[in-house]
Symmetry: C2
Subunit: 342 residues, 2 copies
């Protein structure tokens, strides 16, 4: 089985975006804004939005199952207050759940959280619990910068975040550390903010001792870990200067990287420096980079091709990246698959 651990519902019917725009237009007059019940998307519309997009590409490329969360750039936690985020997260999570019910063989939900800048992350717990208990979510997306590029929340190692971590540990729920749209003109969302956040989160974990407090906490750093594998020597050296243990002990029992790196040399570097056990297959398809690479004739984000072509990985290691690691890290997914005899 090939599991893509990083998919977002980027192709939701237009009605979702229209609803969100109406919500944003009435931020200061929520009584005039749309009600949740105003959003009407039929199962047929959901089915079509998936069957002609993600599922079509999954079949063409040969992946079986996608961990599926709301569109990352649409989370936009910086917009409005907690109530705005809360309503929006509930809607988006329900849609991903409905997709998982319509295509139970192919999609399993991962939850977004109703984060809001300056608001205690503990406020996210009811939505988190609902998604786990009612929707069968197997992971969450945690935004380390709900401000959208102003970075005014404490580092991930701060106790500010501990209420979320306590729930993650309780449910054995991994978090993908994933920012949303940048509202800072300096940072292009998918070309700078996403990658910077990945690098930033990893370095915060090196600086702190978070995994002493939460030995079973699991972070998945997307986009191949931002700049981390390319600068693996720098990170090893910085940890050494800080008198931290080797990175293998200090963070690699808790941090994982996905394979959303859109060219062969990048994937090869990832698999040269990061242990196989820490790499999880992903494409983030259909996402930031949708075109065909003229140098290969294939989609940039068809990351399975790069894994297949890898001369660094054995067949068994490839299978570990495709399935074994993801089932180990997302233990609730493993339980769910085993219950189906998979």
């Amino acid at each position: 089985m090939i599991i893509d651990c990083h998919g977002h519902y980027t192709t939701a019917p237009k009605a979702l975006e229209n609803w969100r725009n109406a919500q944003i237009a009435n931020l200061k007059t929520p009584e005039l804004g749309p009600k949740v019940a105003d959003l009407k998307i039929s199962d047929d519309e959901l089915r079509e939005s998936i069957a002609t997009n993600q599922l079509k590409l999954m079949k063409e490329r040969g992946s079986d199952l996608t961990l599926f969360s709301p569109r990352a750039s649409f989370m936009a936690h910086h917009i409005g207050d907690f109530n705005v985020s809360s309503t929006w997260a509930a809607i988006c999570n329900e849609l991903c759940f409905r997709v998982s019910e319509l295509f139970p063989e192919h999609f399993v939900p991962v939850a977004m959280l109703p984060q809001s800048p300056g608001v205690d992350p503990a406020t996210c717990i009811p939505e988190l619990e609902k998604c786990v208990k009612e929707y069968g979510a197997v992971g969450i997306n945690l935004n380390p910068d709900p401000s959208g590029g102003h970075w005014n929340s404490p580092p991930l190692t701060d106790k500010h975040w501990y209420p979320i971590y306590e729930k993650m540990v309780e449910y054995d729920l991994p978090a993908m550390i994933h920012v949303s749209t940048s509202c800072n003109a300096c940072f292009h969302t998918t070309g700078a903010h996403y990658l910077n956040a990945d690098t930033t989160a990893f370095m915060q974990c090196i600086q702190g001792d978070l995994f002493k407090d939460f030995p079973t906490l699991k972070f998945l750093i997307p986009h191949g870990g931002g700049a981390v594998p390319y600068h693996w020597g720098r990170f090893r050296g910085l940890a050494q200067e800080m008198k931290k243990p080797l990175l293998t002990e200090h963070v690699l029992n808790n941090i994982y990287f996905d394979t959303c790196v859109y060219h062969q040399p990048g994937i090869d570097l990832l698999n040269t420096v990061i242990p196989v056990k820490n790499v999880l297959f992903a494409s983030e398809m259909i996402g930031a980079v949708r075109g065909i690479d003229p140098t290969t004739g294939h989609y940039y984000d068809d990351t399975k091709r790069y894994i297949e072509a890898s001369k660094i990985l054995s067949a068994a290691e490839k299978q570990q990246i495709y399935e074994g690691n993801t089932r180990r890290v997302f233990s609730r997914l493993d339980v769910r698959l085993k219950a189906k005899g998979l």
Copy 2:
């Protein structure tokens, strides 16, 4: 000849730091603060601080010449106002000039600018001109985020920065895009802020059309380009979505990367995806990562070893990275070397 294009005066005598601390202590009462004349560092002290540190390592490692600028993390443009930055930049630039006079075979100055958050960059021009005309500076360091991690200046493609670019073009002066200390707790200075800034600057250049306005402008992106080479497929794909020309045409006539990547696989990736003509040898020694890599037994930042061991580069290409490219990009350095018959 082997030229290291990225060296900072990180080993200046303690008197410099003491003077800066006194300046900072009197930010609101500058009349009580230290005068420039209060800083006394003798030639012997300068000589010793270099001979026992950078020059010693240059000789051991086999590099000949370093482009030498004030300590990046000490620029701290976010501290105080323009007058504070102006006095501090003048002091630091003069020290690098004096080092270049004491060791004319081994050090050539690159200038820091007296940037200050929210202040028109045109105010930096007098210091820039002084450094070029009186000190023989062959390049500048340009901080894209003088706020120190709050990123509230416009992107590098904004007309805000054009007064600097006009002078750079006039003097054919390249700029290394280099941030300083982070005062944002989210960003570790050398493990996140530096790399994020590199990635951010590159993506800003993809988004804009700066090099149409300034076809001869030259940016050197340090630390191997942050996350850029590792995500080269992503950047090519994003440029394609934006209907920009191929990166080779859109930015690679103007943007260069240094080799401050502290392990062999990273250097190999850099030289796999970035054209040789765009790579300039550098170590940033003595800098962020000063230790010995236990996996090799050599200094992490002894980047010459990685170039030497490269199986991707021919001997001629290595020489291009060591010398040819740097003399081409830093044309004022080339003039200076030719005048010495080098």
